[in-house]
């Protein structure tokens, strides 16, 4: 899906986005104010109708990035421009207008639906809030058609969320997100709480809907194979920093960053012979605490190819190593993953 983006205006433009959470020192050391750098200098663009995948370990700041874009949390610094307007400078009215065009799908389908509301009330809530379709019968007809589109029985409109399974609940969440036909949907790990078989169904539903309505996705996940299914471009995050981003084919075939390389080598391969014989890059230890990030390149403590420069020099800049392929490493070099599961 290589598309020429020259001249096209990005739908979402994120520039140097940073979010820090202050950490209270506790009763006995109030003076030592620290902060968690959840998101550090993250920049990317999302174009209309495309899917941008954001992957990383848990705690690397991918969800926080999504929440900052939605202004569910206010970023510490940086710019989020949606549809030509800066989200972080919006007042209440502008924010409401923006949220008409940007919706959110949550990870946990059990916590994201109000248990006291029927499916009809849940799915029609965005319409009520934005005063689209004031006529109730018309609204309910529309909700029924939405339920049909996401593969639920429209007759279940008066049921409560607890009467549905996890996959069905996630479909309800998807119907709600699509109710206003938004331009961008932030999917925060929409399938990681589901069974693998249901994951595939929901992913297919999401890509069908995207083709139908031309919605752009910011797709957050920790599972590379899930992201690979749906994304046009993929970014890899580590400890709040974006390490590498490129269109998915190049990233999966020729990752430049040692972190991406090790992640990809960990994806299981369906062929048992290949799986047994291929070389895996195994990272040592756990990711360091984001309260006390390592000096220099944040990955150097676990990097298989780290040199002295990696801990001495400040974090390397994100540089273009190939056309449209950005990487944040002093020794960025392509490493083709021949035996990877990606079919090219």
């Amino acid at each position: 899906m290589e598309q020429d983006r020259t001249g096209q205006k990005p739908l979402l433009h994120v520039e140097h986005l940073t979010k820090e959470f202050p950490v209270e020192g506790g009763v006995f050391n109030r003076s030592r104010k620290k902060s968690v750098h959840a998101v550090n200098d993250v920049s990317f663009d999302i174009y209309p109708g495309e899917t941008f995948g954001l992957v990383g370990e848990s705690g690397c700041g991918k969800s926080t990035t999504g929440r900052c874009i939605m202004r569910l949390t206010t970023p510490t610094s940086g710019k989020v421009v949606f549809d030509g307007k800066d989200v972080s400078k919006m007042n209440k009215a502008e924010l409401k207008e923006m949220r008409r065009n940007m919706q959110f799908i949550f990870q946990d389908p059990y916590a994201s639906l109000n248990p006291r509301m029927t499916i009809g009330e849940i799915v029609s809530e965005p319409l009520v809030i934005h005063k689209v379709m004031p006529d109730k019968d018309e609204r309910m007809d529309y909700v029924r058609s939405l339920l049909d589109v996401v593969g639920l029985n429209p007759e279940h409109i008066n049921r409560y969320p607890h009467e549905f399974s996890g996959g069905q609940r996630q479909r309800i969440g998807i119907a709600r997100a699509f109710a206003l036909r938004p331009k961008l949907i932030i999917c925060d790990e929409p399938v990681s709480a589901l069974d693998v078989s249901i994951q595939a169904q929901v992913l297919n539903l999401l890509s069908d809907l995207q083709q139908e309505y031309g919605t752009a996705y910011l797709f957050i996940a920790h599972d590379l194979s899930v992201v690979q299914h749906i994304s046009d471009r993929v970014a890899v995050m580590y400890l709040g920093n974006m390490m590498e981003y490129s269109d998915w084919k190049t990233l999966y075939a020729e990752p430049y960053h040692p972190y991406t390389q090790s992640l990809l080598s960990a994806v299981p391969v369906p062929d048992p012979d290949l799986q047994r014989n291929r070389k895996r890059i195994i990272l040592k230890g756990d990711p360091p605490s984001p309260i006390n990030p390592p000096s220099g390149c944040r990955f150097h403590t676990r990097c298989p190819i780290a040199q002295e420069i990696c801990s001495k020099e400040p974090m390397p800049e994100l540089r273009e190593v190939a056309p449209g392929h950005f990487c944040r490493c002093h020794f960025a070099a392509p490493k083709p993953i021949k035996e990877s599961s990606v079919e090219l």
């Binding site: 919706q103 959110f104 949550f106 994201s112 248990p115 809030i129 589109v149 007759e155 399974s165 969440g173």
Partner: protein, 319 residues
């Protein structure tokens, strides 16, 4: 048309049993369209009806309330009133006086019936006062957090640290006896526990994703509070308030027994017990009958509260 296309392209092979059940039977769904719309409260009522103890409690409370409200219509005033018929003093149970008579010849059944008015009124009014104060305080603490939370919750701790009955007695001693003051004293001192319950209910609801979902849809604070937070946190208050009515009736009885509550000759169940306890050895019904009234009513409120807790819990399946 386009919509249909997607629906058909949906992968079929792997359906969970639930999905298969939900998607497949179109004929079953027709039955549903004719079924009445199920609201939260009708669901709760349906669940409550299955709980025998709760239903017996509801019936008992209804009977007590009905008797209390209509007493003037059919209880002979001279029996329950202050008139003394000393010749009839301390008669045993009989058809004329089913609960016997007290030391000055008044009919105990009539006094228990009139006593129910005062006891129920204290229970309901005191609970109403504590609930209103508790809801406001709990909501302030939970919404605004920070300093508000600290101040209100520490205040609640201070209130709870005093022995409850002693605190009520001190308040009544300052304000003077009388039924309004009993309402106020029991009501005002009951707020901390309700505030705590409501605060924690709001806090746990607030952390849910559906609150974030509503915010990300652009919902106003007012809408989030009224449509999302309140309906999900009010159940615990309904339950707690119901049980609290029984508690307030008990507190009033204790106060009257100690001579601090309702002033005789107004009958409340506590006063009847206090009157009767002097004759426990010779005329035990004087104490036993109002005691039974208290026990049955308080138990009914507690069991009803228990039943409500189960009925209002939406996660109870097989509804």
């Amino acid at each position: 048309m386009a919509k249909k296309k997607i629906f058909n392209e949906k992968p079929v092979g792997v359906e969970t049993p639930e999905q298969a059940r939900a998607n497949a039977p179109k004929e079953g769904s027709e039955v549903e369209t004719t079924a009445p719309v199920r609201t939260l409260w009708s669901d709760a009522w349906r669940r409550l009806r299955r709980n025998k103890l709760a239903i017996i409690s509801v019936i008992w409370i209804a009977i007590v309330v009905l008797i209390a409200l209509t007493a003037d219509l059919w209880v002979p005033a001279k029996l329950g009133g202050p008139t003394q018929q000393l010749y009839d003093a301390r008669l045993p149970m009989s058809w004329e006086h089913p609960f016997g008579t007290d030391q000055v010849g008044r009919d105990v059944l009539s006094r228990v019936i009139y006593g129910s008015r005062i006891s129920l009124a204290v229970g309901v009014m005191a609970t109403a006062i504590s609930t209103v104060i508790g809801l406001i305080m709990g909501a302030l603490a939970a919404y605004y957090g920070g300093l508000w939370d600290t101040i209100i919750m520490r205040l609640a701790d201070i209130f709870l640290a005093f022995p409850y009955i002693l605190f009520v007695i001190v308040m009544l001693a300052v304000m003077g006896s009388g039924i309004q003051n009993v309402f106020i004293a029991i009501g005002v001192l009951g707020w901390p526990s309700i505030a705590r319950v409501f605060r924690s209910a709001i806090l746990s609801v607030k952390s849910n994703d559906y609150i974030d979902a509503a915010r990300s849809m652009g919902a106003s604070d007012f809408r989030i509070i009224t449509r999302h937070i309140f309906p999900n946190s009010v159940a615990s208050i309904v339950v707690y308030a119901t049980m609290n009515i029984g508690g307030a009736i008990l507190t009033e009885a204790s106060l009257s027994f100690l001579g601090m509550g309702v002033v005789p000759p107004d009958p409340s169940w506590g006063i009847l017990i206090e009157d009767g306890q002097k004759y426990l050895a010779t005329n035990p019904w004087l104490m036993i009958m109002p005691g039974l009234a208290i026990i049955s009513t308080v138990l009914a409120f507690t069991l009803l509260g228990d039943g409500l807790r189960d009925a209002l819990d939406v996660k109870m399946k097989d509804a």
